[in-house]
């Protein structure tokens, strides 16, 4: 009897091992079957990069919080490597003097992957449909779009908005004749560099170069995107199963054989909002009447805000918190055409203290500055699940302690923070491929610092009313500092910008990853912006 049972157990073990063994062999064979190699690449992205609603620009694909090239569709304009505006479908565009009418002339030679030509009617259809949808693509400045003829699309705006060019660089054009809201996202027909071959939901996307693409031919014929958690992506790279894997600074401590670490410049900036009005204010956060508490008695003091901007050792943040995978930042527009040099400041704790003392603040027995009974002390919110933000909050606390300002870091989730951040400073992540960020941080109204300055507002209005995007850059710069007033650390200092976070990836050593365009906030599809130009040695 004993023997029989043992025999049965042994059989089970053997069959399990055999199953494992045969599985292994086919795995190796598959890996060599040309999925990865010349003309083909596998990229691991985080699970949130998978567009839940599919690859439908009308539902927000490629636009919204994390912008990137839509790949399957073409856009009217593009952002060039230096984040100025270039042309894709549009041959030219003109803005009427009042800024309310944009006229795009589009190329006549573009065809969708189903062979039908792309005309201005498709452009009008795409935008008119997208306007009606509730997505995170902000098209509220648009009134309507009409196609005058096959190659002319006229956009009517509610309000002048020169930054619209940056929206036109991410909204992909869909074919009116083949658009079905229920199915398009799964099976997009576009005119872009790639065709969606297969989408295994929750797992991977396989795309192939569009043979009839009107632009430069793609070197990378097949691109596979797999969606994995950070740990799984690391394991997949370690197992050699992906060619490029996104990662975080802490993983780079253990490099992977055969892989190099790539660190891409980004405008993914961390900064802290400093509410400029005293506590007790309210902000109308919602259309349905909900208001949120706004304002902070301590940061409402100009001297405090100016002192904080100088008291943070940004170099040390980059070195110690970001493991060197970052750079110092003084605005959320690093290396973008509208960046203003005047935003820069120096690390100078002595100066920070003298600013406070000149404003009447005196050190108390605990080494904290006080003025008329008000202690220089405030909470600092951060998203607790994010290691870099946690590190930044803790480091800022230590650095400000040196200059007599007490910071109490409070970790929480984004949902809660979004409602608390109007009254409590928060370690924000920001940075766009669009100057619109300047409006959202400094224009009177909804901004998290409750900042309001009529001179700054005027420059922002002038920037939006500019009749060309290139012309608008000077006004965006002036909104930050015009020689008299602005939001620089030496002036109103409503936000303190700290550091740029590099986007880092493991990539196979013999793969040439082309990436000249600065990444915006958020990992994800931006890595694939130039994937058509990548090549293997």
């Amino acid at each position: 009897m004993k023997k029989k049972l043992f025999a049965a157990l042994c059989m089970m073990v053997i069959s399990l091992v055999a199953l494992a063994g045969c599985g292994g062999k086919t795995g190796e064979k598959n890996a060599n079957a040309g999925m990865s190699g010349v003309g083909s690449v596998i990229i691991a992205m985080d699970t949130e990069s998978e567009p839940a609603a599919g690859f439908d620009p009308i539902m927000g694909w490629a636009a919204g919080e994390h912008t990137h090239d839509p790949l399957f569709q073409s856009t009217l304009l593009i952002t060039k490597d230096d984040i100025t505006i270039g042309y894709d479908l549009a041959k030219e565009y003109t803005i009427s003097p009042d800024g309310l009418t944009w006229t795009f002339k589009i190329r006549p030679d573009v065809k969708f992957t189903d062979g039908k030509p792309l005309t201005a009617k498709d452009v009008a259809f795409t935008y008119n449909q997208a306007m009606k949808q509730a997505t995170d693509t902000d098209l509220s400045m648009l009134k309507s779009v009409e196609a005058v003829d096959d190659t002319t699309a006229v956009f009517h705006l509610n309000t002048p908005y020169s930054a619209f060019a940056y929206i036109a660089a991410v909204v992909g054009i869909v074919p009116e004749h083949a658009y079905n809201a229920a199915t398009y996202g799964k099976n997009p027909i576009g005119s872009g560099r790639y065709i969606l071959k297969q989408w295994d939901k929750g797992q991977q996307v396989i795309m192939e170069a569009n043979p009839n693409y009107y632009g430069e031919k793609a070197k990378m014929k097949q691109v596979t995107i797999v969606f994995m958690s950070e740990a799984a992506a690391y394991a997949a790279a370690k197992g050699g199963q992906v060619d490029v894997a996104y990662t975080a600074p802490s993983y780079t401590v253990n490099p992977i054989n055969g892989y190099k670490i790539l660190a891409f410049d980004s405008v993914d900036i961390r900064g802290i909002n400093l509410p400029c009005v005293p506590a007790g204010n309210k902000i109308a956060a919602r259309k349905n009447g909900e208001t949120l508490p706004a304002g902070n008695d301590v940061t409402a003091n100009l001297a405090i805000r100016q002192a904080i901007a100088r008291a943070v050792d940004r170099e040390a943040l980059v070195k110690n918190v970001l493991y060197g995978y970052g750079s110092v930042a003084y605005s959320d527009s690093v290396d973008e055409p509208w960046e203003n040099e005047a935003m820069k400041t120096t690390y100078d704790p002595a100066k920070a203290k003298s600013i406070l003392e000149a404003d009447g603040w005196r050190l108390n027995a605990d080494g904290i500055y006080e003025k008329q009974g008000l202690k220089a002390e405030f909470d600092l919110l951060y998203i607790a699940s994010n290691s870099a933000r946690t590190g930044i909050a803790m480091a800022v606390k230590e650095m400000l302690k040196e200059v007599g300002i007490k910071v109490n870091p409070v970790g929480s989730g984004w949902d809660k923070i979004a409602t608390m951040a109007y009254e409590t400073p928060h370690v924000f992540g920001a940075g766009l491929h669009s100057p619109a960020g300047i409006k959202s941080h400094y224009y009177t109204g909804k901004n998290y610092a409750s900042y309001s300055n009529s001179a700054v507002d005027k420059h922002i209005e002038a920037a939006l009313a500019a009749t060309s995007v290139e012309d608008s850059y000077q006004y965006w710069k002036k909104a930050q500092w015009d020689g008299v007033s602005g939001v620089t650390p030496a002036a109103d200092s409503p936000w303190v910008w700290l550091a740029e976070i590099k986007h880092i990836y493991f990539a196979k050593e013999n793969l040439n990853v082309i990436d000249k365009k600065i990444h915006p906030h958020g990992y994800g599809w931006t890595i694939a912006n130039n994937v058509d130009q990548w090549y293997w040695n």
């Binding site: 494992a20 292994g24 919080e65 509730a134 929750g202 394991a235 349905n288 959202s440």
Partner: protein, 335 residues
């Protein structure tokens, strides 16, 4: 089986149906209350940090309307409920697709995973429990017991990570995750590929599930082995195998079956964690996504379906009792 027994079973099933319907309604109401009082604001979750800063009030208001935040909760629930009863599970807010389509894809993946794990954990646990009980106090009993106690206190996700490290990263025998090979066209994927991707997640779930059943079966086995009728059978010179086959099996099966069918809920819960680790696109992942983004229609449907699944498991266990132990069947007739 006579007609009266048949009738009693039908009556039992009918009663159970009424029970399950009221249970499902309760589950859906409770889930709905949880979703609507949860701190997750679907608009903020959907738009994200940069979006909240950059979007203007008009666009946000449109999103609020889309997520139904301006509709009173009772009305929202009633809308969902009346649609659901008519067979329309509604539109997933995040996936922007009918919920049944979203669930359909995920459910098939999960079902395969859970069934495999459930089957293996049941069989293995049962056999190991019998062996341990039979050879109580010997080294093999200690081995099985020790293993079961160790596994019972092992977190599922941790075991999943260990298996992933050993078999995928070091030995490279199995893929890192997903349910299909990376970069392969659907038409080229073979059944063997699918099995290969299933092995590690299913193994994790099975290994974890074994412990409970093995330990309980062992206890029951020990209890039974000292019963008089076993002693009598031994005295008649019956072999161990024959004793188990004819005298013990029916008795030890009852707790095993209860546990096995009750373990559906555990397997379901475990699959959520395992699916996260192995990037396996199942119902668990969908539930996590729905919860984190405040996607009420999707979450409600998943809750109802999983509750139905667990209930069905228990119902099957109750029905099986009747077949295995005639005394229970007769008891039902009168009750």
């Amino acid at each position: 089986m006579d007609s009266q027994a048949c009738y009693s079973i039908l009556k039992y099933v009918g009663k159970s149906l009424i029970k399950v319907i009221s249970l499902l309604i309760a589950v859906s109401i409770l889930s709905f209350i949880l979703v609507s009082t949860s701190p997750v604001d679907p608009v903020r979750a959907y738009v994200g940090e940069v979006g909240m800063v950059n979007m203007n009030a008009e666009s946000l208001a449109r999103l609020e309307a889309y997520f139904g935040l301006n509709t009173p909760p009772a009305e929202r629930y009633w809308n969902w409920f009346s649609d659901f009863v008519r067979g329309d599970m509604g539109l997933s807010l995040v996936y922007r697709q009918p919920v049944d389509e979203v669930i359909g894809v995920k459910f098939m993946n999960s079902l395969l995973l859970m069934l495999t794990a459930w089957f293996f954990s049941g069989i293995l646990g049962f056999i190991l429990g019998i062996i341990a009980g039979l050879y109580r106090g010997t080294w093999i009993d200690n081995l099985i017991k020790g293993y079961s106690l160790l596994i019972a206190s092992t977190p599922t996700f941790w075991l999943a990570l260990v298996l992933l490290m050993v078999f995928s990263v070091w030995l490279q025998l199995f893929p890192i995750g997903l349910s299909v090979p990376i970069g392969m066209k659907a038409s080229e994927v073979t059944i063997l590929d699918s099995i290969k991707h299933l092995v590690l997640p299913a193994l994790t779930l099975s290994v974890i599930g074994v412990a409970n059943i093995a330990l309980h079966t062992r206890e029951k086995m020990i209890d039974i082995m000292v019963e008089d009728y076993i002693l009598f059978a031994r005295a008649r010179g019956k072999t161990r195998f024959s004793i188990i086959r004819h005298h013990a099996l029916r008795n030890i099966m009852l707790p095993a079956i209860t546990l096995q069918f009750a373990s559906i809920s555990e397997i379901f819960g475990g699959s959520v964690l395992v699916e996260q680790v192995f990037s396996y696109p199942g119902l668990g992942q969908a539930a996590v996504a729905a919860g984190l983004s405040g996607d009420a229609p999707l979450l409600l449907s998943i809750a109802v379906i999983s509750a139905a699944l667990v209930f069905t498991g228990n119902l099957i266990a109750n029905l099986l009792y009747g077949f295995i132990d005639p005394r229970i069947r007769r008891g039902n007739m009168h009750g």
